[in-house]
């Protein structure tokens, strides 16, 4: 049984063991094989277990490279169960698909051919995803069970659009405050409720607010059952496993009745019966919305869902037509196992596990014909990653012995060591923080909250990855400010420049691809008062910049062509121009993800300006653009589409190679979207009325980009 995370595997194993203990006759052994399994339990798992719960990472690095030790397990493998299938998409999914191909190859080596069983959250294409992941041929589609046989009661969903507090800017009441108010109503009615937040910060804020409200009620003597301090909890990634287990069990036993959580609770961890779910902000996809709302409801009792929207364009789009949530099918999960950047490293791992033999290349790697596989192996041989003995049918491709190649293949992208948050003076570890988030949440002076309790960071030790905090009663929280700069190093661009030395003005190319270098700086932080959210101070931060080296494609954004000799409206307004360019970038990214069959989260897009080879600030619309950004936007803006995985997975380059067809498809998406004047789906954040971007302007930018590409191709 494969689970996407350790926590989920452990949770399900508990339930399985309980089930297994009820089976008469032969005892059923249920074992966990993950990174935390001690050696003697690993041996027992190999020898005695009937069911082994593991994760793709352990399969990739623990089991397959050491398959001799698992020979009896692999020889007797009957079923492979993939839980939470929908999580295996995009680049991660492509890695998992290749790990499964390696598994199947070894199974056939040991003489078994297991049946796959998978479960998935609501997505548009579970059967297609299943076939791509397991490599099952299209001629033998899986049996799809998509109706729930479980009894369910009535389900009511309320979509709440907060009232406008500033008619001039259209800013609405903060979703966090609205969520807080809704939670109070449900708490006082003693309805067990789960509050899903979009960020970890929001979990902490809401946990604190809900605890404050309950305390006030207790003091006022009108506290109900759900107002005890232990009834209100927070739950998010970064909490230590013990704390998470404790909250899960408090939910199951009914001790905790109001829990604020991130998507960490979205997956199938058993939390018992919940009657209501509040979403603080639209989760971003219809699939996630359905999944989270589905957490409420047990047996035949009625369930309540409340979606509290905020002022962002995407949320306001949902507000304008709430049927958007149910009217259309949920999102597709896409995966491309044959992406060479993913496939080739796994072929090398597979050759290390068991040599490939020239006469036996057909049907050993799903999705690849014998000739394709030979080409892949030859490529690896030419580049020194494999060794070939013999020719043609007698060829044997082996990995060079020595280091295990799987050690160098990161299926979830490179992972930096976490920061530990250490309480002073007790020395207890309070939580852990991802490397990338450390400058944002653990800078000296930051207020770090755990289940509403505030701590001030007194010392951040970068290399040892430790942050020392002490408990303080702060009435504010902190928010770090971050700026990103980007440049693209295009080898063709460089050679073009060196080919014409001495030319004073070098015309920057219109589009290209190369290596991208993104650098995030965190210059300072704001102090924000709890409750009112007013800004009460500012402090500097001096921490290392975070860098991302990856691959990217870039396109210069031309001015929309004049219509009837007149410039189109807003053509000379830098902010409006930037907003238009961002709409183009948004469409390019989403269409590229669709065509390349990756997750939209595998790609990122930014807008910058100037020469692509020099550093430019990332131009954002989320708040008032900085004067610097406005200045830059006045020059030629550039769209940079990059792979979010450090080092890249070849996606941006492939997007650029699509050339005209990518531009055409993206233009079609914008021009033929069913919305009235551009919506978050087709134009992203730029669809917000505040930017005054017309759909016509976006389409005409696409027209100009296409025309330029056509003329460049004609010249070439």
């Amino acid at each position: 049984m494969m689970f996407p995370t350790k926590a989920l595997g452990r949770d399900q194993v508990e339930a399985l063991r309980t089930m297994a203990s009820g089976i008469e006759g032969t005892p059923v052994g249920v074992a966990v094989y993950d990174g935390d399994t001690p050696p003697d339990e690993r041996r027992a798992a190999r020898r005695k277990a009937h069911v082994i719960a593991t994760n793709p990472d352990m399969l990739h690095r623990g089991m397959l490279p050491h398959h001799e030790g698992w020979a009896s397990v692999l020889a007797g493998l009957r079923y492979v169960v993939l839980d939470e299938l929908h999580t295996y998409r995009g680049v991660f999914g492509a890695h998992v698909a290749n790990v499964l191909r390696r598994l199947l190859r070894l199974c056939s080596h040991y003489g078994s051919s297991p049946t796959f069983v998978a479960s998935s959250a609501t997505i548009a294409n579970p059967d297609e995803l299943f076939m791509r992941l397991t490599g099952r041929p299209a001629s033998r589609p899986p049996e799809l069970l998509d109706a729930s046989g479980a009894p369910s009661g009535a389900r009511t969903t309320i979509v709440l659009n907060p009232k406008v507090v500033d008619p001039l800017t259209g800013v609405r009441r903060d979703a966090v405050k609205v969520t807080r108010a809704v939670s109070t109503v449900l708490r006082e009615a003693a309805v067990p409720t789960l509050v899903f937040c979009r960020t970890r910060k929001a979990v902490e804020l809401l946990t604190r607010y809900m605890q404050d409200d309950a305390r006030d009620d207790r003091r006022a003597g009108k506290a109900g059952k759900g107002s005890s301090p232990s009834a209100i909890r927070g739950y998010r990634g970064g909490y230590l496993p013990d704390r998470r287990r404790e909250v899960e069990s408090a939910l199951r036993t009914g001790e905790a009745t109001l829990v604020a959580a991130t998507n960490a609770l979205e997956l199938g961890i058993d939390i018992g019966g919940i009657d209501a779910v509040i979403l603080s902000g639209y989760p971003g996809t219809r699939a996630a919305t359905v999944q989270r709302l589905g957490r409420a409801g047990r047996r035949q009792s009625p369930a309540l869902g409340v979606v509290c929207l905020n002022s962002s364009p995407l949320d306001q789009f949902v507000a304008a037509d709430a049927s958007f949530l149910w009217g259309k099918p949920p999102e597709h999960a896409r995966v491309d196992p044959d992406n060479p950047d993913v496939l080739l490293p796994h072929l090398r791992c597979a050759a290390h596990e068991q040599a490939f033999v020239g006469s036996d290349l057909d049907n050993v790697w799903s999705g690849l014909s014998g000739d394709d596989l030979r080409d892949g192996l030859e490529y690896l041989t030419e580049h020194g990653a494999l060794v070939r003995a013999g020719e043609g049918d007698t060829a044997v491709y082996t990995a060079q012995g020595g280091e295990d190649p799987s050690a160098g293949v990161e299926i979830r992208g490179p992972i930096e060591e976490n920061f530990a948050v250490i309480d002073q003076p007790t020395g207890d570890i309070l939580a852990e923080v991802d490397f990338e988030d450390a400058p944002l949440y653990l800078h000296p002076g930051a207020i770090y909250t755990v289940e509403g309790r505030t701590h001030e960071v007194v010392d951040l030790q970068w290399e040892p990855r430790k942050a020392y905090v002490r408990h303080v009663e702060a009435d504010y929280y902190t928010e770090a400010i971050s700026n990103t700069n980007v440049r693209v190093i295009d080898p063709e661009l460089d050679s073009a420049e060196s080919a014409n030395p001495g030319t004073e003005t070098v015309q920057a190319p219109r589009a290209g691809q190369g290596l991208a270098h993104l650098m995030r700086q965190v210059p300072g932080f704001k102090k924000i008062r709890f409750g009112t959210h007013e800004n009460i101070g500012f402090g500097p931060i001096a921490l290392p910049d975070l860098e991302l080296h990856t691959v990217a494609a870039y396109w210069a954004v031309p001015d929309p062509p004049p219509v009837d000799g007149e410039d189109s409206p807003g053509a000379h307004d830098p902010v409006q121009r930037a907003a238009t360019a961002l709409a183009v970038a948004h469409a390019l990214r989403h269409v590229a993800a669709m065509v390349l069959m990756c997750d939209t989260g595998d790609l990122g897009h930014v807008l910058t300006a100037g020469h692509p080879g020099s550093w430019g600030p990332v131009i954002k619309l989320s708040r008032k653009p900085s004067p610097d950004a406005v200045l830059h936007a006045a020059s030629q803006p550039y769209i940079v589409l990059y792979d979010r995985n450090p080092g890249g997975a070849g996606l941006a380059g492939a997007a650029h190679d699509l050339g005209l067809s990518l531009l055409e498809r993206a233009q079609t998406v914008v021009s033929s979207c069913g919305c009235e004047q551009g919506c978050p789906t087709c134009m992203g954040a730029s669809s917000d009325e505040a930017w005054e971007v017309s759909r016509g302007a976006v389409v005409s930018v696409f027209e100009a980009m296409r025309a330029r590409l056509v003329s460049e191709q004609a010249r070439a």
């Binding site: 596990e353 040599a355 060794v387 044997v396 295990d404």
Partner: protein
């Protein structure tokens, strides 16, 4: 004339007329093969020169085929298959890079008897890419020298060398056709000396590493030998050296590859090869020495170990023969207090009991009870004997009561039986 050239001119003149010293006989890109051959029963260092075996093994020689065959028979016991008379064993030893599934066997040596001489073939891998051809050559040589009745002889080969080689053969898809991945000679009859050695010397020696056995049993104390750790690390250094294969292929050539070579690498590689040869050349002597100790143990604890091993290989009579004189000859009260004697006597008694010599067994238990009053196992065994075989519950009760940890159920039963008398 340059020193290197002069040293190069020196080599062959040292060899005896019909002895090829470490002749490079083959190899290919990325690996090499060297062959050594010497007369049996003659010190190897004398026959092959100072670089044949590690220092400290000056007197090491390889016993003749007949002695080795006899040792194999003694070590395997009466039930084993017949041993080939003129080629009783092929000695096998490999050196690897560290542990784990991804280790590389980068050095291997085989030794066997042939027409009154011993032959040793040694392979060294220089570049990881050549592993498959390198191993294919080792296995084809092994297949060629194995005869019906020949044993693979190793030290810890059962749990180390052979499983590793089988894994590599499997992963590298060595061989052809249906048997691809499986090398039959790796499944040939195998005598792993570590098993007998551990049983015989477990109590007598601090550990049973090959070096310890060589120095304590054969009297060869290696000097300047490489450790297993250094040998594993050596492979890492070799892999990290650019154009190593090129430099090693032609040591005389004045190329850039030579310049890139770590100055100590060549010496260390030679030291690892020396270590590997020492292991392989020495193993026949270890076999004859351990076999001899099975018959003539040097101490009571060795006798215990020998008897344990003999019993394991279905040679219970031989085990009794080994123990009897030692137990009988040292039955004085002072020796009786020695733990070694008590254990030996109990083992001997057990051998008697399983051979239905119950009186002899009872006599030994009685002596143990006298020598070590209250000894739980002896009192229990004697009480059982008196109760069930001799039909004397009264005497059994006395013996059982005197135990340091009497079994209450047995006492109750014996009291009942005694009262009924």
């Amino acid at each position: 004339m340059r020193l290197r050239d002069r040293l190069g001119a020196r080599g062959p003149s040292n060899t005896k007329a019909n002895t090829s010293v470490g002749a490079r006989t083959g190899g290919g890109q990325g690996w090499e093969q060297t062959r050594w051959t010497a007369p049996v029963e003659t010190p190897l260092m004398g026959a092959l020169g100072p670089h044949a075996v590690p220092r400290g093994m000056e007197t090491l020689f390889v016993p003749d085929a007949a002695s080795v065959a006899a040792a194999v028979r003694a070590l395997e016991g009466p039930a084993a298959d017949p041993v080939h008379a003129s080629r009783p064993v092929v000695v096998l030893d490999i050196e690897t890079s560290g542990l784990g599934a991804s280790l590389v066997p980068y050095m291997a040596a085989l030794a066997w008897h042939e027409r009154g001489r011993v032959h040793l073939m040694q392979w060294t891998l220089h570049s990881p890419g050549a592993e498959r051809v390198f191993l294919a050559d080792v296995f084809s040589c092994l297949e060629g020298v194995l005869q019906p009745g020949t044993r693979l002889l190793s030290y810890n080969g059962k749990s180390f060398d052979l499983p590793r080689l089988r894994t590599r053969a499997q992963r590298l898809a060595l061989g052809d056709g249906a048997s691809r991945g499986t090398v039959p000679s790796l499944f040939a009859a195998h005598l792993d000396l570590v098993l007998a050695t551990r049983r015989v010397f477990k109590a007598a020696l601090p550990n049973c590493r090959l070096g310890t056995i060589e120095s304590e049993v054969l009297g060869h104390r290696r000097r300047g030998d490489m450790s297993g750790m250094e040998i594993a690390e050596l492979w890492e250094r070799m892999v990290a050296t650019p154009r190593l294969a090129e430099a090693l292929a032609d040591p005389g050539a004045d190329t850039a590859a030579q310049d890139a070579l770590d100055p100590f690498l060549r010496d260390d590689l030679a030291a690892a090869q020396l270590h590997n040869r020492g292991d392989v050349f020495g193993l026949c002597s270890v076999a004859t020495a351990v076999a001899k100790r099975l018959e003539q143990p040097a101490s009571l604890s060795e006798a215990m170990g020998a008897a344990t091993h003999l019993r394991q290989i279905d040679a219970a009579d031989a085990a009794t023969e080994v123990l009897q004189p030692l137990v009988d000859g040292s039955g004085s009260p002072s020796r009786g207090r020695e733990r070694g004697w008590v254990d030996a006597a109990l083992l001997l008694a057990d051998l008697h009991r399983t051979a239905d010599r119950h009186e002899a067994a009872a006599g030994l238990w009685r002596r143990v009870c006298d020598a070590s009053v209250g000894h739980v196992r002896a009192h229990e065994a004697l009480a059982k004997h008196l109760e069930h075989r001799a039909g004397r519950p009264d005497l059994a009760l006395e013996v059982a009561k005197a135990s340091l940890a009497p079994c209450s159920r047995r006492l109750a039963r014996l009291e009942k039986k005694t009262a009924a008398l």
